[in-house]
Symmetry: C2
Subunit: 197 residues, 2 copies
C-alpha cells in the first residue's frame, strides 16, 4: 500500500504523495529520511533513492525536478500514521498529479525488479523469522503468489538465510523453524533469488 496525503484545496486531484522542497544546505538523503519520519510518525526500516523526474510534467509545487524515494514499513508500524495521511492500495489508487503517478509507477517497478538482488524483504521482518513469513513478504512486494517448494529452493541456492535452533509453534499446525538473514559471500558467481511460480 502507498501512503498519500490530502492535497491543498486548489488542486484538481485530492491526494498527493508526501513531498517537501529541498532546503539549501541539506542533502536530499537526509531530507527524505526526515520526510518519511514525519509522515509515518516513526522511522521506516528502509529509505532508498530511486529515480529523478524532470520532464514536462511539473510537480504540484512547480518544481522543475523531483527525486523519488522509496520508504518501507511493515504493516504494524503503518498503523500509527499521523495527520491526514492515509494508506491506499497500489492496484486501486485515486487520481494523482501526472508526474507523481509516473514516479510511483517507477518506484514500484524498480522495487520489484531489484527484489531478487537486494535484500529489501528482510528489512520488513524481525531478525528471526520463519520461511513462510519471508515468502509472504515477497508475495506482497511482488503482488503475486509464489510456489512454496520453488521459493525455498531459490532461497537456499542464494545462500541468504541460515537456520537457528529455535522453533515457533503458533497455534495450530506444525511448528516452523526460525531463520536469520545471513548472506554467504560467495566470492565468484553469486546468484540472487530467482522467482517464477
Amino acid at each position: 500500500m502507498v501512503l498519500l496525503v490530502r492535497a491543498p484545496a486548489k488542486s484538481r486531484e485530492r491526494w498527493q504523495l508526501p513531498w517537501r522542497s529541498l532546503r539549501p544546505g541539506e542533502t536530499i538523503d537526509d531530507e527524505a529520511a526526515k520526510l518519511a519520519r514525519k509522515s509515518l510518525g516513526t522511522a521506516p526500516s528502509l529509505v532508498e533513492q530511486v529515480a529523478a523526474f524532470g520532464d514536462k510534467r511539473r510537480h504540484p509545487s512547480g518544481a522543475e525536478l523531483s527525486v523519488a524515494f522509496l520508504a518501507l514499513v511493515d504493516e504494524e508500524t503503518g498503523e500509527g500514521v499521523v495527520g491526514d495521511a492515509m494508506w491506499h492500495a497500489v492496484e486501486d489508487l485515486p487520481p494523482l498529479p501526472p508526474r507523481q503517478r509516473a514516479m510511483l509507477e517507477g518506484v514500484v517497478t524498480s522495487l520489484r525488479s531489484r527484489l531478487d538482488q537486494s535484500p529489501i524483504a528482510f528489512h520488513l521482518l524481525p531478525s528471526i523469522f520463519t520461511l513462510t513469513q519471508l515468502q509472504e513478504i515477497y508475495e506482497l512486494l511482488l503482488g503475486r503468489r509464489l510456489h512454496k517448494a520453488s521459493f525455498r529452493r531459490s532461497l537456499h541456492a542464494a545462500w541468504l538465510v541460515e537456520p537457528t535452533d529455535e522453533w515457533r509453534s503458533e497455534g495450530r499446525g506444525r511448528p516452523a523453524q526460525l531463520f536469520r538473514y545471513a548472506p554467504k559471500k560467495r566470492r565468484s558467481g553469486r546468484r540472487g533469488v530467482r522467482f517464477g511460480a
Copy 2:
C-alpha cells in the same frame, strides 16, 4: 569508453564528466540532450536519465544535487569529439571527483542490468545489421565475451529481430544475413534476452 573533459586548474583531479548547471525554465532532459550534443559535436543515438545523486559528496560546482544521464554513440561518431574532451577506457580511468566516480559506476551498472530488457544495443547499429555485429555491441556493453550459439538462441527466443533477404559479403568468410530490429509484441509473458556465456 567514457568521454571526459579537462577540469579547471584549481581541481585536484585533472578530468571530469561533462556537466552543466540547470538553467531555470529548462527541463533537465532538454539540458542533458544539449550538453551531449555540445560535448560530442553531434547528436547521440540515445540519451537517458539514470539516477540522481545527492549525498555528502558534493559536485565540483558545489551543487547539492546531480542527475546522471547516459548518452551513447557508436565508435565512428565518437571520433568527431570536439575541444579538450577525450575518451577513456571504463576499466582504466583517471581520478575523478568522488561523486562523479559514483555516478559513472551507477550508470554503467544500470546500463548492464537493463540491457536484457531494453533495446539499448540497437541504437548503436544501423537499421540493418548482422547478428555478429549485434553480438559485438552486447559484448562491448557488457564487458565480456558471449557464446555465439547461446546468444542467438536467446535472441530468437526474445523475438527481437527478423531476417531480411539481404546478405553482406564483407571481405573473406561466408556472407552474413542482415537483420532488422522488429520486436514482436507477445501479449503475455514476453521475455527479454538472457545472457550467460
